[in-house]
């Protein structure tokens, strides 16, 4: 007795459902069998995204710039997304596939929760994301890289967690902080010097913005704060209470303070 509206399997995964029922909806379709491109960069270009554990949970942030070669393609692109009530992702790589993966992941988590009646564990979510990154490998070797950082507030353990990924979907638990993207190394250097465990909220936000500022100075692909247009990095707090965007006023004030401090003021 086939009850399905669309010949699908009987699982709880939206990702598997789409692959089976509507493969054209996924960017990977039609990409099988293509040859890897020569001279492909090892890290995603044109971005810095980072995450940091602090006293109340985790901060996750990203710059706002998208580039096409030497041109600015977008000044206010959003790289940080809430995945559900207590987890978020920031994605480095090719803008289109990144935004699609964010959307797919959000749908995956909600879908599972609705079908099963209960949400996934944080590990389960991290794992599922790893599978999506893995499935993107054919595109990645063509240069359309998608590499996320995944963070969540683990309600059971009562702590923030950070997961990082490589191109092939390998997943790694990261203890304190991480940054990726073309400016990732520069951001990590800053965090390495300034990070301390269990920082208070104000210090943690300041550190995140310092790291992004440094990355923007060294990496042409990463955008710094734009005081003229009032465009600042996206920063989200993920805590026991849920996910809050750090408001623009506060970001502006912190970025101005950073600039002033460097001016020697």
């Amino acid at each position: 007795m086939d009850l399905s509206f669309n010949q699908s399997g009987a699982g709880s995964s939206f990702f598997d459902l789409v692959r089976q029922a509507e493969p054209p909806l996924l960017p990977q379709s039609g990409m099988e069998g293509l040859e890897p491109r020569e001279g492909m960069p090892a890290v995603p270009t044109g971005t810095t995204v980072l995450a940091l554990r602090y006293r109340d949970g985790v901060l996750i942030a990203g710059d706002r710039q998208a580039t096409e070669g030497h041109q600015v393609a977008s000044r206010r692109i959003e790289k940080v997304y809430a995945a559900d009530d207590h987890s978020a992702i920031a994605i480095a790589g090719a803008a289109g596939p990144c935004i699609e993966m964010a959307r797919l992941f959000q749908t995956e988590l909600a879908h599972y929760e609705k079908i099963e009646g209960t949400g996934l564990s944080l590990e389960g979510k991290a794992n599922k994301l790893a599978q999506m990154v893995r499935a993107n490998l054919p595109l990645a070797i063509q240069g359309l890289i998608v590499v996320p950082i995944f963070v969540g507030y683990d309600l059971k353990r009562d702590e923030g967690r950070i997961y990082k990924y490589d191109l092939a979907g390998g997943r790694y638990d990261e203890a304190d902080y991480y940054a990726t993207g073309s400016g990732g190394k520069d951001a990590r250097s800053t965090m390495k010097k300034l990070y301390r465990p269990a920082m208070a909220e104000a210090e943690a936000i300041r550190l995140v913005l310092e790291a992004l500022y440094d990355a923007a100075e060294e990496d042409t692909g990463t955008g710094g704060p734009d005081f003229v247009r009032r465009i600042f990095p996206s920063v989200k707090q993920v805590t026991r209470a849920g996910i809050q965007d750090v408001p623009e006023d506060r970001l502006a004030a912190e970025c101005e303070a950073i600039v002033n401090a460097r001016k020697g003021g």
Binding site: M1, F5, V18, A21, E22, L104, K114, G117
Partner: protein, 233 residues
Amino acid sequence: MPLPYYVSPEQMMQDKAEYARKGIAKGKSIIALEFQGGILIVAENPSASLNKVSEVYDRIAFAGAGKYSEFERLRKEGIRYADLKGYAYGREDVTAKSLANAYSQVIGNIFSMEIKPLEVEILVLEVGEGAASNEFYRIAFDGSIMDEKVYATIGGQAEELKLFLRDKYRDGLGLEEALHLATRALEAATSQKVKAAILEVAVLERDRAGRKFRRIPQAELRDLMEKEGDGGG
């Protein structure tokens, strides 16, 4: 050569309908009704873990009466349909109307083509921007679809509950009042005292951002029922 028995299609359909009706008549009932804040869904369900009422999409809920395993499969298929459509197009493009029609097709086909019809009756509910745009769809075991207004009932006592509500329902009910009304309706229809522990209650709240569906947990349910003098729990 043995001759096959001839049964007229009409007879077959009647037999199937009777079979399905009997299956549903044995089962418990569900009421969905409008209140000021959206739509309230009250199901007779003593189980704490097996649900009859479920979220489907941002503004859409599902309620099933009859054979659990059958409406449970329908519930999951509805969620898959909604999420695929919302992903392929946009979140606003998923409507209760198209989902209800899809259910009608599937259930109707099974009724006609399969030896055993589904013993289910389901509701697809959508909370609208304003009260006037709430939608209630009731799909019966044979796939027939009814567009109800203001309240809808399914299950073994559906008719009695509907008559009770026709008499007692009025507009502009608050959540507690609507819950109280639904409880009284169930008590009248089943001639039994209704306590929080045997109810599964959920709401589609118009003013919630994003996903409007919310289950009302037992503790809150007992509080709400006590407020109206039910002494629930």
